[in-house]
Symmetry: C2
Subunit: 410 residues, 2 copies
């Protein structure tokens, strides 16, 4: 343990004088910098503060970046006087700030100092455009049809005030103060051009809290993400990202994100016994393996019947309905945060999942899966979709470029 | 870094089969287990999940335990039918659950599995009694005079619904899912005996995010806690804990905690320039050193005047008013969490400090300091006390005993 103290100190340097600049020279363990790493890989503990995610790249950070322990989602609306020009200036400012903060530097203007002494702690900042953005900026012709409003689902209980928005920003970091610092810096840079529409806080496991490297648990106690596509999959790029030849052209290398605030009705869920919970999901709670056997990564045997002649994995089990081969091969990359906003007046936790999923086309990713879930998922009586957003997240900026420049100056 | 990965894996074991029991066999780096460690020492990163705080001891955990990155504060009120007997049974259940979870074991009953796979991650659970507890349980004669209501302060804007309470529980852990798991387990164990009155979530730096070992920053960007008494101080025990000969006897080894939800008016604060902020505090923002020079731990030279003949540290500077020798030698151990509950309708963050401070006697700790702050602290226009609680936190349980047993069965 003494060795660790030393190596940590060596990696982070002596913080007092050099302040925020420390992380910049540290490791470059971000996914974008090392494409051979899988998104499941957790950061090295010894360099938690110094770990850096690259801002520039083919794709924006925060999509295949390993899940951070703290996240903020925030949507902005352009103000009445702001149009395309102001939006372009805003994205330029935001990109510059994101690049600096992700490199462990202070923002260009006056700093709140909240992240001072800390390294960038795998900070990532991701920007997206909502359906309403295009009308407000006179860019309707550039609006992708993929941004057409999601269909209504019968189980939706959506709060419009916490849904949609002209602009969307996702912030993740392995330190909560670093994440808050970035959130405030982004808000400050919005200036007179945009106002916060809604904002949500989330969390995941801390690096080092578990030896399980691949997947996290959600607040229902389930292993979450077993089914996620992997960057090593042959069709990963084509499922998750818009191709270079894609339409509209400014979305090349981009992705569409669906964001849902999914409240979990934990008091009801926890009244179920273990076997009942496992029947709802179709997987063992202990290790995420299908009820038909194997390990977390084993394919469920959907046709297998038990001694009673019934399917082992029930027809309405969550694992059956979300299986890609049950949905025309659709797939999306789920990258959620848990949330907990205290207890309501009945003593029930206002808690659940900030569901964030990425796909090249929502009509082949989220929509068909959610349609099936909406019809027959045994899990649906234990969850409630309370907010929803769909955003076009353009490709990553190359050096000298800002995110969205190909749209705003195209 | 490879070495670290290996040692982490070794420390945590292979998680799949043995589940929650892992941390129990891990390191015992909790403060209670190693009294020579100072509370400023951060956990070893390599064993973050396995780090264990001892439940049993002279004092309860969560007082001199190193600050964790995630915290929950929750107050309960006894239900109408519950009296002394039900309260005793509740504290017995809560103590058993706290002991199991802090050792990295699952609770005795059905588990939510939210912490499964993870080690205890320095989990601590601390229990206290509020003023109203004693009337409801017929124990008025055992009520310490130290629990008499705090005086009103002119700057208070207290929400009664988020203040006080019969029972108070503080949960801290270096993993947010471990902390949430404990919160739900404690809530579940309350059963029919008690209901949640209020609940708040907080956070601090993640271990490893910074090389600064001693103090954290708050959401104003200031280093917080420079002035804190240290367990190595000669008078630490007598300032923070009720002595063995203290009154009432059931509080021997205990401490009184003052909890304040202090909202920071960050938009106003951030409009100040660096020099103005430093004048308000009386310390340099960069490293916490007094404006009269030195390092974070240097005593401020309160009599020093500048070239203009004015005190360098202004008469209303926060650092002057909170100096122990300006308050009759009073001292308290501050152990706060930051909080951020989203943005309000004006786009201002609902954020600030969950101020938690410990002392042997509130009339010699929190009260005189807050009285002085209330009259003349330059910081007061940038903060707002929105909730308040004062609780008697009994000494730690010895093996076979539960927390509060000396009160409830005395």
């Amino acid at each position: 343990m003494a060795d660790n103290g030393i190596s940590r100190r060596r990696l982070l340097g002596t913080a007092g004088a050099t302040g925020l600049a420390l992380g910049a020279a540290g490791g470059a363990a971000g996914y974008a910098a090392a494409p051979s790493e899988t998104p499941e890989q957790t950061p090295s503990l010894a360099s938690l503060g110094a770990d850096t995610v690259m801002f520039h790249g083919k794709h924006q950070p925060g999509i295949t970046t390993p899940l951070q322990s703290r996240g903020h989602l925030v949507a902005f609306d352009l103000t009445a006087g702001a149009g395309r020009k102001e939006a372009a200036a805003l994205l330029r400012r935001w990109s510059a700030t994101a690049e600096r903060l992700m490199a462990g530097k202070a923002p260009a203007g006056e700093d709140t100092d909240v992240a001072r002494d800390a390294g960038p702690s795998s900070l990532s900042v991701t920007f997206g455009f909502g359906h309403s953005f295009f009308g407000r900026t006179g860019l309707e012709k550039q609006r992708p049809s993929a941004l057409d409003p999601l269909p209504d689902f019968s189980s939706d209980h959506l709060d419009k005030a916490r849904s949609d928005g002209d602009l969307w920003v996702q912030i993740g970091a392995n330190d909560p103060l670093v994440a808050f610092h970035a959130l405030r810096a982004i808000q400050k840079e919005a200036g007179e051009a945009a106002r916060v529409r809604w904002q949500m806080n989330g969390f995941n496991r801390s690096p080092g809290a578990t030896a399980r490297p691949m997947t996290t648990r959600n607040l229902m106690g389930q292993i979450d993400g077993s089914n996620n596509p992997k960057p090593s999959d042959d069709d990963f790029e084509q499922r998750i990202f818009v191709p270079a030849s894609g339409e509209p052209q400014w979305m090349a290398g981009g992705s569409y994100v669906v964001v849902r605030r999914i409240r979990m009705l934990l008091d009801d869920w926890e009244k179920l016994g273990l076997k009942e919970q496992e029947a709802v999901i179709g997987r063992h709670k202990s290790d995420g393996s299908p009820l038909t056997g194997g390990t977390e990564t084993t394919e469920p045997k959907l046709e297998k019947a038990g001694a009673d002649g019934e399917y082992v994995i029930a027809l309405n089990a969550h694992a059956r309905i979300t299986r890609p081969d049950q949905n025309g091969g659709s797939a999306m990359l789920r990258r959620p945060y848990s949330y907990h906003d205290g207890f309501d007046k009945d003593g029930e936790p206002d808690a659940g999942l900030l569901f964030v999923c990425w796909q090249a086309d929502p009509l082949r990713g989220f929509v068909p899966v959610q349609r099936k879930l909406d019809r027959g998922d045994a899990l649906s009586k234990f969850i409630r979709h309370e907010a929803s957003g769909l955003f076009a997240v353009p490709g990553g900026a190359v050096k000298g470029e800002y995110v969205g420049q190909r749209l705003l100056e195209g």
